[in-house]
């Protein structure tokens, strides 16, 4: 077997863990999108030099413990209320980066009102919205975003629009509001998508710091445990089933 001398020098490093990520092992299931999204948020904060000025709000749901992983100040908000809390935080601390990190149950079900009104007021915050079409933390119940026909613990025969209504497409609705300056839908299931998603987060954070209004970054994400699939199968299922309903790309700004 060939031996290689590896010279560890900063200029030789091509990749490293972001200094804005902690060393805490993540509690997310293998294959879950949250870990990757956390990573690119941390990298974006680092690249923009905002670690000492960033305040994140974690939701109720799988990402409630986001504060364990991204090394900034955090506030854990009540279920669905992160956008309201963030509104006050940013108005009282206008030179800070204030962003929320919310799942689809938190944001699009219980927190719909707070989300729409924060958007409508044009608060200078960023909302990162992770849409995996299911309640992960509580064990895989139907979310507002659950696809028609999709089986969950509360839709054992699949979501029936006659019973449960239709998948809630939040981003397009919010894009109509004049207070919202940037709406984009991204995913992190391929390297190329991760790069685009990080760029979107950077742009959103820059908007927030420049006072341009509210920036909304939706991440179409997998919950392979909740979907009862392997990580690879979940990625494929997302492409085939989620993207037609939640197509990727910039919606506004």
């Amino acid at each position: 077997m060939a031996q290689f001398e590896v010279e560890i020098k900063p200029e030789n490093l091509v990749y490293g863990k972001s200094p804005v990520l902690t060393d805490a092992p993540m509690h997310f299931c293998p294959g879950c999108s949250h870990g990757t999204i956390h990573k690119i948020i941390a990298e974006a904060i680092d690249e923009l030099g905002l670690q000492e000025r960033a305040i994140g709000l974690s939701p109720v749901g799988c990402s409630v413990l986001a504060y364990n992983y991204i090394d900034i100040d955090w506030v854990q908000a009540a279920h669905g209320r992160a956008a309201a809390a963030a509104s006050a935080m940013k108005r009282l601390n206008p030179d800070r980066l204030v962003f929320t990190y919310q799942g689809d149950g938190d944001l699009a079900a219980i927190g719909t009102g707070e989300t729409i009104h924060a958007c409508n007021r044009g608060e200078n915050i960023t909302i990162i919205y992770v849409n995996n079409a299911i309640y992960g933390m509580t064990g895989g119940q139907m979310a507002p975003t659950t696809l028609v026909g999709m089986k969950t613990m509360t839709t054992p025969d699949g979501r029936d629009p006659k019973l449960h209504g239709y998948p809630f497409v939040v981003s397009d609705m919010l894009a109509h509001l004049p207070g919202v300056c940037y709406v984009t839908r991204q995913s992190v299931h391929t390297a190329a998508n991760v790069r685009r998603a990080k760029k979107a987060i950077r742009k959103a954070f820059e908007n927030s710091m420049e006072g341009k209004g509210l920036s909304f970054v939706e991440m179409v994400a997998t919950c392979n445990s909740g979907w009862k699939m392997s990580p690879t199968a979940a990625n494929q299922w997302m492409e085939e089933n989620m993207f037609p309903v939640y197509p990727l790309g910039d919606i506004k700004g």
């Binding site: 100040d73 108005r91 009104h117």
Partner: protein, 363 residues
């Protein structure tokens, strides 16, 4: 020179907030307290002290704005009336669970349900016993005049930062709507960001200024042993509050055979009842709790050693009276009288109740 103004109770709260260096008010209109938000919007304190004033889309949003603002170490408050306070319960529990400072004013009205917009004192249980889910208390101050609406708003900010626990000013529609002269204090500037770093730097989520270790404001703890230990920490805080923050007034209780127990506007009505009784030769005193939590129960227990009876007078079907009975013990009667549902008892009605329930029976 003293600055004296004729103000509604609600206006006094707004003026006090501006002058005590409040950083942010977040509220939603509801009768009978909307003048607090209206006064703040007309005073435009953002142009003078830099105070943020924001009309929220609901009481739920308002209390969570308070939660967010408080989490950054700012002096923040909200106000509402009974149904709106119910919507804030979850937020109040989060604030207590995260040990955050905030001031909440309840200008209460009749209920249950949507009830009436007229005054009532039927939120005693909610304020004192059940502000929300979980093991926590709020400090509850009960003003009985417009001056006290002003003074207690400032006192509430001092107490909430002393204990890092929500403080409620529990008024009612009478105190909120009536006008009296108020001596205004000299304005205090808002606390600057450097002072917040110094005073709240160990817990507030201000951003990791100077690279300090991160602060996490949260009330979630999935390990039962740690959550239990935290609840003991909270309990120790409440024990300190019960030790040090009891406030009350007594009127002619020294020789009293019968003692009226009343807070807020009922205490004012009872002052007149006491005079009426004394004019007819009955030795009647008045005990007025100012802090409803911590409750001045020791005073009632001491009075119970020598008085013949208590009458709790409150604009409710009987809430305060339960605490009076608890402390009065089994040997002294503690009766209740009160109009409710928006009705206000007259001194004559209270005096008649005092006679029929206590004086005529015992003498």
């Amino acid at each position: 020179m003293k600055e004296i103004k004729l103000l509604k109770g609600n206006e006094a709260v707004a003026m006090a907030a501006i002058r005590c260096g409040c950083d942010g008010y977040f509220g939603y209109p509801i009768t009978p307290q909307s003048e607090i938000l209206e006064t703040l919007m007309s005073q435009k304190p953002w142009e003078t002290t830099g105070m943020v004033v924001l009309q929220a889309e609901s009481e739920t949003a308002a209390i969570n704005m308070v939660y967010g603002g408080a989490a950054t170490g700012k002096r923040v408050m909200t106000s509402s009336s009974s149904p709106g306070i119910s919507l804030m319960s979850e937020g109040l529990s989060y604030l207590a669970g995260a040990e955050l400072p905030c001031v909440v004013v309840n200008v209460s009205r009749g209920g249950p349900g949507l009830g009436t917009i007229q005054p009532a004192q039927s939120d005693y249980f909610q304020a004192v016993k059940a502000g929300g889910h979980g093991d926590f208390h709020m400090i509850v101050l009960a003003p009985a005049s417009v001056q006290e609406m002003y003074d207690f708003t400032q006192l509430a900010f001092d107490l909430t930062f002393k204990y890092l626990n929500p403080v409620m000013v529990l008024a009612d529609g009478v105190i909120g709507q009536m006008m009296e002269k108020v001596e205004l204090s000299e304005g205090k500037p808002r606390v600057d960001d450097e002072s917040i770093q110094r005073e709240c730097g160990s817990w507030a989520a201000t951003g990791r200024v100077g690279g300090r270790p991160r602060n996490i404001v949260t009330s979630v703890e999935l390990d039962p042993d740690i959550q239990e230990a935290f609840n003991h920490i909270l309990a120790a805080k409440y024990a300190r509050i019960e030790q040090d923050e009891v406030r009350y007034e007594t009127f002619e209780c020294e020789d009293a055979d019968f003692v009226l127990v009343a807070y807020g506007s009922s205490a004012r009505i009872c002052r007149r009842v006491m005079e009426m009784a004394r004019e007819e030769g009955f030795k009647v005193g008045l005990f007025r709790p100012i802090t409803l939590y911590p409750f001045p129960g020791d005073v009632i227990a001491r009075l119970a050693e020598r008085v013949k009876g208590f009458l709790a007078v409150e604009m409710s079907m009987g809430q305060l009276v339960e605490d009076v009975r608890l402390w009065a013990g089994r040997n002294v009667p503690a009766e209740h009288y009160g109009r409710c549902g928006g009705a206000i008892h007259s001194p004559d009605e209270v005096y008649n109740a005092l006679k029929s329930k206590l004086i005529d029976k015992i003498k």
